[in-house]
């Protein structure tokens, strides 16, 4: 591997979070973005070609070394690492709404879910999955929420574009059928 690739490899190994290209550029500002991207691909291919237990993954708008899937069970059984807590259906519902409607206020989330969501939103904010991104127009200038890089990280997404497009869903929101001609 090139010297730049080795430098990036060391940094990515040491980091406990995904590092963005901008993060990595601080290691060697002279390198330039294109060179960093080339070096990242070089590392990824080197790890793939040599059959390692870890792989370099593009995640949360950055890059991170992660263990390969096939070792998850063994690592967990030995309790060397803990899987993150699973999110409740209510939390996932709220996340889905915020992810697709962002920036979105609490009221809109409540309306779509048909249930008060304050506690769920607070918990998600506490876990760093959503945050206040701006204030809305209108009465009381409500706080509007959006998702964070941490949200992408726990889902293993590169960016928000990797979320399924609404048209791709099997129950894609068809416009409701025109009011039935005959009543019940």
């Amino acid at each position: 591997m090139s010297p730049l690739a080795r430098l990036l490899e060391a940094a990515l190994f040491a980091a406990s979070r995904p590092l963005t290209v901008e993060d990595l550029l601080t290691l060697d500002p002279q390198a330039g973005e294109a060179a960093v991207r080339t070096a990242l691909r070089e590392i990824r291919e080197a790890y793939a070609a040599e059959d390692h237990g870890v792989e370099l993954i593009e995640i949360a708008q950055g890059w991170q070394f992660l263990t390969r899937r096939e070792y998850a069970e063994a690592i967990e059984r030995a309790q060397f690492a803990l899987r993150p807590r699973r999110l409740s259906p209510a939390a996932l519902e709220t996340l889905a709404i915020i992810a697709y409607r962002q920036p979105v206020g609490r009221l809109e989330v409540d309306e779509i879910r048909g249930v008060d969501s304050d506690a769920v939103i607070d918990k998600l904010a506490e876990r760093g999955l959503v945050e206040v991104v701006t204030r809305g127009e209108g009465l009381g200038r409500p706080l509007l929420y959006g998702t964070t890089p941490q949200f992408l990280e726990i889902l293993g997404l590169k960016d928000l574009d990797e979320l399924p497009r609404l048209e791709e869903l099997s129950v894609a929101l068809r416009p409701p059928a025109p009011p039935a001609a005959a009543p019940e």
């Binding site: 040491a14 899937r69 992810a99 008060d116 129950v171 929101l173």
Partner: protein, 247 residues
Amino acid sequence: MTNPALTTRDQNGFVIELEQFSGPLDLLLHLIREDEVDITDLPIAKIADQFLAVINELGLNQAADYLEMAARLLRIKAQLLLPRRVGDDEWEDPRAELVRRLLEYQQIRELVDWLGQAAARRAEQFGRGFAPEPAAASPAAVPLVIELNDLLAAAERVIALIPEPMLHRVVPRPLDVEGATARIQALLAEREQLEWLDVVGERPAVVDVLSTFIALLELAKRGSLKLRQPGPFEPILIQREPPRPAA
């Protein structure tokens, strides 16, 4: 009135818990799926009865959101029962709004499945466990790891310094922070480093301890001295802040 929800439950043998549904729309969608009816042509009367039966089971006092939905369903049911003229163009299906919300919610549920799977897949890979220490972590931020006996011993040491309190008498002397400040400054002018006991003196009264403590904090805030405690419950060290001569 027959109770379709109860029979449904008997057939499938499931028990309702409040946590099982994330909201009234979730429950409604569940009932619709059980019955395999078309959302866009919702049999409101039937669904409303089932819904009521289920929230009865849930315990009404916990289910304000569910009650609101029940009221909505009953209103739609009543609206549908009202007679109307044949060929009335003005008529709007009272179910339309509910159907729109249900479809929207159904879409969210599908996203929930997708997000859940993505999260489960991500959880099969581990990143490095090392977390860098937050910058400038102060010793105070380190959680205390201490045995109960140490804690008691430390508390006893502090209490032993305070003479028996006389609960029936109001302490006549108010806090003398200025006096304590002057005393500390005088001591610091002579010595680079003091111990807590040097400052409060032997057998201090409660007010002395308080005044001295407040004075120390105030001086530390102003930057004229530095407070250090090598370990939990060890004597506090008072050091002259080197860049400035003691004020």
